[in-house]
């Protein structure tokens, strides 16, 4: 069920009312949340619910086994069961065709034709997100950072909680499980911050991102006929499209969760206001970047095994982070660019003995990020390479505007979006907490204006970019 659909507009209040009618018993609330989450997911394709149930059951069971196992060896064995099963599922559903195709291409390039190995597999929505969530649960138990859950409904709810099931934020059990296994309360602060964040999220996604996407799609769909200035503007638009699309989704998820008394972790913190790429990754898709840091980079040795190993770990983490997004070499290259520049930054900081760049760093970071986004957006390596070379040929001609109305709308909405971010950046208050500042009347006015803007500028794009991951 999409957050920007009429179905969700009905679904959310209905679940909300029944949920708070059950306030005397949090376990009943959990049962309701579990059923609602499965309904919400099954709305897309009920067949893949079995995967979530399997993944939930596996880690519930394995979690208890890790905890009760004697000796590190036995604990590790159970952890491996979780790792192999979860990553195996992800491998089959998300990466099998990619590796089979890459293998066939490699063999073909050396003159050995391999029969078609690819399978007709549909990628289940959200598999990358809930797999990482259940994996972190088992790893945390292994690391003795949390206790295994004894509440099966609570644990299943943790895995499938509908606001974050299909595109995150990837919640840690240490944050969410205690909230699920205890009484929730709704107060004025949660209502104000939640409502504000839901509407800001809707505006970011439905108005800003989707309007930017119209221009981006028209340019990237015919990239070969456009000049450098058009491709550059389309790429800058894409940088903001993907940011407002995904942060907007996260805002709706976090805001919706607040209405049920849950506090999710932040997922975005104004990433384009970063002076370094290192800072960018502390602000962009934070639940994934911290996951990769804690469970991959640190597990590989982090920066504790010498400078060469540190660079290797950084590069490997970012390459795998890229691959997490999708089964395409373009995502790997995208991760590789980030890994390379993160390594270069680390070297520069240590050589110059500095901790960050000056104001010029904002520009540097943005340039690196948008060049990497070209590989993220382009359909294949050849087209990405053509776009990069056209932009960097600096042969800027007149700008293609397409439908002038749509272009003007996109620029106007982008300006509003950036102005909101600038206001948040200057106030040094996070969006998650910003709503609490408003009186009821002021919040009403702001929300009503957002509703008006949504009516005037909504776009009918039917998906969120991150659903494909």
């Amino acid at each position: 069920m999409l957050f920007n659909s009429i179905e969700y507009l009905i679904f959310l209040p209905v679940v909300f009312i029944i949920y708070w009618l059950l306030k005397s018993n949090y376990k009943n609330q959990n049962i309701l949340l579990l059923i609602s989450s499965y309904v919400s997911y099954g709305w897309w394709d009920y067949r893949f619910l079995s995967l979530i149930v399997f993944s939930s059951f596996l880690d519930y069971y394995v979690g208890q086994k890790i905890e009760s196992a004697h000796g590190d060896k036995n604990k590790k064995r159970w952890l491996l069961v979780s790792l192999c099963s979860n990553l195996g599922l992800l491998g089959v559903f998300k990466y099998y065709n990619f590796f089979a195709e890459s293998f066939a291409n490699t063999m073909s390039s050396v003159g050995w034709e391999v029969n078609a190995l690819t399978l007709n597999i549909i990628l289940p929505v959200g598999i990358s997100f809930y797999t990482f969530q259940t994996l972190s649960y088992s790893i945390d138990i292994y690391r003795k950072e949390i206790k295994a859950s004894k509440d099966i409904v609570g644990f299943f709810t943790f895995v499938s909680l509908f606001p974050q099931l299909v595109a995150g934020p990837i919640e840690r059990a240490s944050n969410l499980m205690p909230q699920i296994e205890g009484e929730r309360k709704l107060n004025a602060t949660l209502i104000k911050t939640g409502v504000f964040q839901i509407f800001i999220g809707l505006f970011r996604k439905v108005a800003i991102a989707d309007n930017l996407g119209v221009y981006v799609d028209s340019v990237y769909g015919n990239y070969e006929i456009h000049n450098g200035s058009t491709l550059l503007v389309a790429t800058v638009f894409y940088a903001f499209q993907i940011y407002f699309d995904f942060s907007g989704y996260s805002d709706i998820a976090i805001g919706s969760a607040k209405m049920f008394g849950f506090n999710f972790n932040r997922n975005f913190n104004l990433p384009y206001f970063s002076k370094t790429l290192t800072e960018f990754w502390r602000r962009w898709h934070m639940s994934l970047s911290f996951w990769l840091r804690d469970y991959l980079y640190i597990s590989l040795g982090g920066n504790r095994k010498g400078i060469a190993i540190t660079y290797r770990n950084l590069l490997l983490t970012m390459l795998l982070g890229g691959l997490w997004h999708g089964s395409s070499w373009n995502f790997v290259i995208w991760g590789g660019i980030h890994g390379l520049f993160l390594s270069l930054e680390k070297y520069t900081f240590s050589a110059l003995k500095i901790k960050t760049f000056n104001a010029f760093g904002y520009l540097y970071t943005f340039i690196v990020v948008i060049v990497a986004w070209i590989f993220f957006r382009a359909p294949d390596f050849e087209s990405a390479a053509t776009i990069v070379s056209t932009i960097f040929s600096f042969d800027f001609g007149s700008l293609f505007l397409g439908d002038i109305n749509k272009f003007v709308n996109a620029v106007l909405l982008l300006t509003i979006g950036v102005a909101i971010d600038l206001r948040l950046f200057k106030s040094k208050v996070s969006l998650e907490e910003f709503g609490v500042r408003f009186s009821t009347i002021r919040l009403t006015i702001i929300v009503s204006i957002i509703i008006l803007l949504l009516c005037l500028f909504y776009s009918t794009t039917e998906n969120f970019i991150y659903f494909q991951f």
Binding site: I6, W20, K23, K185, L186, N187, A188, I191, K192, V195, I225, G397, S398, D403, I404, N405, K406, V408, N409, L412, T440, I441, L443, T444, I445, V447, S448, I449, I451, L452, C455, L456, F457, Y458, S459
Partner: protein, 318 residues
């Protein structure tokens, strides 16, 4: 939930509903007032001008961007209007045709594209282009309701009727794009010197698409064609309907043209198919802007051809 929290929540919801509804109506009626005075721009000006002149002109052209850029209506009749609009299809055109006065003597040229007609994905959503007139013009309102392309929320939040067009309307209200009194709806595509290279490259690499086996007529397009057909019956003593497909640079598939021609012939609708009119003359790229759109030079040449055919046809009717 505490009673105090519940009261706060109910208060917030009630206030949001009341205020958003009020703001919506204030903005909607303000936009109505403004938009009624806008006569330029594709978003609403062209539609407003059409509604103003539709029952006083002698000749009308309906269709998409190819109709808009290919038919120099002045050449056909000094009192004519070209209602071709970018990106729209037969749903939009059929609805507008049905707003015409059946008693007014007129020639109506309907530009039809075979490719759109055989497109599985066509669902008639171009009719949404008329939403600024939703609940304001009866025939458009009923066509929009019937199409199912209007959100149920649109009956609560009226400003959704101006979705995507508000800025264009304001811009054309403050500074009209052109003087509508001297505008007949035809927009020439002039290819500047700097663009000729890109155009020539595209045309040189224009590989004709192969015919597919699927030549099933889109049921939505057919339903809207039948609505036009009903109107031709209703107005048969007063209106001459001509269905036209204008030239394409390199179309390799004649099957779909044939099927569409058969459908129109069976319905006793006059159909002139010019798809391949300049195919043998493909070296002359000056006629084109791109693979599917003719330049102003191409449009002049094509309209001259159309005029001759039209004159011959009119004489044959006498």
């Amino acid at each position: 939930m505490e009673t105090k929290t519940l009261k706060q929540l109910l208060k917030l919801i009630a206030l949001i509903l009341v205020l958003s509804y009020t703001i919506d109506k204030v903005v909607f009626f303000s936009l109505n007032t403004i938009s009624d005075n806008v006569m330029s721009g594709q978003a609403i000006g062209k539609l407003n001008q059409f509604l103003k002149v539709k029952d006083t002109t002698n000749l009308l052209v309906f269709g998409n961007s190819r109709a808009n850029h290919h038919i120099v209506v002045d050449k056909l009749n000094p009192n004519a209007y070209n209602m071709g609009i970018n990106g729209i299809g037969i749903a939009y055109n059929s609805t507008l045709i049905n707003t015409l006065n059946p008693k007014k003597k007129q020639t109506v040229i309907v530009h039809i594209d075979t490719k759109n007609f055989f497109n599985d994905a066509y669902d008639g959503s171009d009719i949404r282009g008329l939403k600024t007139k939703y609940n304001r013009i009866d025939k458009i309102t009923s066509a929009l309701n019937e199409s199912g392309k209007i959100s149920s929320l649109q009956n609560i939040f009226y400003t959704m009727n101006y979705n995507g067009s508000a800025v264009g309307i304001l811009k054309n209200f403050i500074k009209p794009k052109y003087n509508h009194l001297s505008y007949n709806g035809y927009d020439p595509l002039v290819v500047s010197k700097s663009k000729t290279e890109v155009r020539d490259y595209m045309l040189k690499n224009d590989i004709a698409e192969k015919c597919t086996d699927n030549h099933k007529v889109n049921p939505t397009a057919l339903a809207y064609l039948e609505k036009i057909e009903s109107f031709t019956e209703e107005s048969k003593n007063n209106k001459t309907f001509i269905f036209v497909t204008s030239p394409i640079h390199n179309d390799a598939c004649a099957v779909d043209n044939k099927i569409l021609a058969d459908i129109l012939n069976k319905k006793n609708l006059t159909f002139w198919d010019f798809t391949n009119l300049y195919k043998t003359n493909n070296d002359d790229t000056s006629l084109w802007k791109d693979k599917t759109h003719m330049s102003n030079l191409g449009a002049e040449k094509f309209t001259t051809h159309l005029l001759k055919k039209h004159q011959a046809y009119t004489s044959s009717l006498k």
